[in-house]
Symmetry: C2
Subunit: 466 residues, 2 copies
């Protein structure tokens, strides 16, 4: 038996962030992870997907070549085996980076075994009992795969396995067009796989603004085969599965699951803690300290919470839990301004309060709009596709949120998120510089749309307003 | 003779901005421009250069194709005639946009003739005398071409003529590597022209931070032939000119002038105003109202001031002059936070206070640094090239400025400029969201570098700090 100040279950992004905070205060901690090490982000998430998307978008760009006087674009071809080797090669570099960060403490503080709770202060780790004053659960998430289709599972690919593929089948269905489905699905579509996206609602990437959602659906449908009629698996066929969506029957070799990720909280012995759970079997916890309700020292952080599984939130949550686990008084931290990016092309981003949140909360807001069809820099880039809505407080002109489907949306989303975090009004933002010719000038047009429709008068100006 | 409230000389970006403000208050105004109409920006500046750069960078990208499994990249070729037709075709679209904006008032308010001053309230326009209560000079700028080399001028190309080229010679020298020289020069280099850049100091794009400047010089030198040894024209050769830079003698077909732009203030009869001029023959003026010193109603705006000739500044200056020209009391407007972008690849940007300004003003500052070699998203993009310095107040951690040579620098520069305009400290900025994996995480690393070295203590936090 060992006694430690803190035990952290999981050496992923949340667990490693927690560890950094804990190690600032005590050397008497343990991190327990039964592998594989290297984080979801680096192994099977953010990083390898972006490498694939980069290759796919670079290849896709050939369709614009002849207009610009670049000859030979139509003779370009893709060697998917090399593409996937490239993806894995960079992935391995990112994983090595993570493992390098672990190396200085793994001999003394890492146990590569499975942990289960005995009680709120005790874990069984292999044959050993570990007593810990505080325990942080950072077990992460895994792809959602419905049990009902177990008989077809040989034909299923999830994002954990996806990056191990040596090559791609000719025809695939992608189930779900949230972040994962859309990112990977559009990438393999652009790399030459015949893809049918299947979901239940004509809304992609978590958009809640009906106009942005319908524009995005329309534009993506022009490029790809999107069905919102749900899926029925009819049975196996010679080379794959026969499936049905709406009235259409299709044969596909594989089905890629892009239905999102679920917290990995089963098999941890959480039932021994005398705590309450939500409908998804996730312990109830305080979202500002990550303390599990009904405990004095058990924390739940990162993807394991089942809420918004993105890296920067996982890091923050781990940090918060670690920070609080080694202090007498807990500090309740707020979340950063909400920011989510789907790295489709164009990007889909939600920033600050979504349209739905504003409506649900009964906030009186004004919408500014810009189309990237006809926007100067979009024309230059031959990327005239996109629509952005920016929301401002009707009374004050305070920037509240935005939903967008726009070229270089990831960058615009940061600008918006920082302006929201800074509690800036559209008047103030319009006094900031916008260079020329940039996509950000599209954002300016949307901000002007808000400015003309808010109750507040333009304040005395220091700079001439845009 | 006509009497008007306001006469605006020049229908470029500054003049048109001034007109918008004037027209809000009075219909009794005139805009005088002897053409060509369409603005420097749309005709021969920002817009066509960005179209050329887009084509060049898309073509250049082929060098990364094989690593990603895209075959055939080395068989791509460029048809420069088509490229230039594409550039002109989009340029014409932008010019049409400008002319469309003029169409509603040109019949009643535009005179397409040359104006010269008789006195502070009178202009000679063709055979007509126009009396104006206020006169706004917005005559713009033209490329700098030294008179001394007049005998070789058949071999010279400036940015006014550049976009009319049907094709490019095999070998060119580019004089100067400020914004124009570097943007156009790198573009034609990437499109296959053999280019030698010639200047007098190994500093490109106006950088003032010695480390950023020397890194940028080094990296660009790896791609292109850069000489800082000055130019001597030895004489004409069979197909062009023989020139000398340092010890090297080179034969080039043409010389592209990228020495910047000079204000067009000659031939306007400014000597009739009884005013003072600076060493460049530009009237002295108040930089917060644009009123020419020694006058009660003559304004000087836009590129004609000879200061920082970029579009968003020209628009602001025109707006300020127009706003003040139609009001009893003049409002002194400040300039927006400084932002300049050279659309080279990677971009070169200066934001807020430059390194040199901070030094000259004796400000006690701390530098945060990030290299984009090894930065996560740069690796993904196969764009591992770049260095950024961010400057913060040593005492408070207030963000002051930045100089950078970085992939997608234009976007990062906006983020930085807005944060500076918002008067944010590095502590506050680090509480804003940074998505993953994005280039902005590089910026975060630089901000942390400042945070660790400022005198101010981390304030009580609402969100966990990055």
């Amino acid at each position: 038996m060992r006694n430690v100040d803190v035990a952290i279950i999981g050496a992923g992004s949340a667990g490693l962030s927690a560890r950094s905070e804990v190690a600032k205060i005590t050397e008497n901690y343990l991190v327990i992870d039964d592998g594989p090490l290297g984080t979801t982000c680096a192994r099977v998430g953010c990083m390898p997907s972006k490498v694939l998307i980069q290759a796919a978008n670079d290849f896709h760009r050939r369709h614009k070549f002849s207009a610009m006087g670049i000859n030979g674009g139509s003779d370009l071809s893709i060697d998917l085996k090399t593409t996937m080797e490239h993806v894995r090669s960079l992935r391995d570099r990112f994983v090595r980076g993570v493992l390098g960060g672990i190396s200085s403490w793994q001999d003394t503080h890492l146990i590569q075994k499975r942990a289960t709770f005995i009680d709120q202060n005790s874990l069984k780790v292999g044959d050993e009992i570990i007593k810990a004053k505080k325990i942080i659960i950072a077990t992460g998430s895994k792809p959602i795969l419905p049990d009902a289709w177990n008989e077809y599972k040989d034909y299923f690919v999830d994002s954990d396995f996806f990056f191990e593929l040596e090559n791609f089948p000719k025809k695939m269905a992608v189930l779900g067009y949230g972040v994962i489905g859309l990112e990977l699905g559009q990438a393999i579509h652009r790399l030459g796989v015949e893809v049918t996206f299947i979901g239940r609602r004509p809304v992609v990437g978590g958009l809640t603004d009906p106009e942005i959602a319908s524009y995005t659906w329309k534009k993506l449908s022009e490029e790809m085969d999107l069905s919102s009629d749900g899926i029925e698996i009819l049975g196996k066929s010679k080379n794959g599965l026969r499936i049905k969506t709406g009235e259409r029957e299709i044969e596909v070799e594989k089905v890629l699951f892009g239905l999102g990720r679920q917290p990995m909280v089963k098999g941890l012995g959480l039932e021994n803690l005398g705590i309450e759970f939500n409908s998804k079997d996730v312990p109830l916890y305080d979202p500002e300290t990550y303390l599990v309700k009904g405990t004095e020292g058990v924390y739940l952080t990162g993807d394991a919470t089942g809420i918004f599984p993105v890296l920067h939130e996982a890091s923050d949550e781990g940090k918060t839990a670690g920070f609080n686990a080694v202090r007498e008084n807990r500090t309740p931290f707020k979340k950063r301004t909400r920011l989510s990016v789907t790295f489709s092309d164009p990007n889909i981003c939600l920033v600050g309060k979504s349209y739905k949140e504003l409506k649900d909360e009964g906030i009186d807001f004004v919408t500014g709009e810009v189309s990237f069809e006809g926007q100067g820099r979009s024309i230059v880039m031959l990327k005239e596709c996109g629509l952005m809505h920016v929301y401002g407080c009707k009374k004050s002109g305070l920037l509240l949120g935005a939903e967008l489907f726009a070229p270089s949306g990831e960058h615009m989303a940061h600008l918006l998120a920082w302006a929201i975090a800074s509690k800036k009004t559209v008047f103030e933002i319009l006094s900031f510089p916008f260079y020329h010719p940039v996509l950000e000038e599209g954002l300016r047009a949307a901000l002007r749309g808000i400015k003309y429709n808010v109750d507040a008068k333009e304040p005395p100006l220091e700079v001439p307003l845009a």
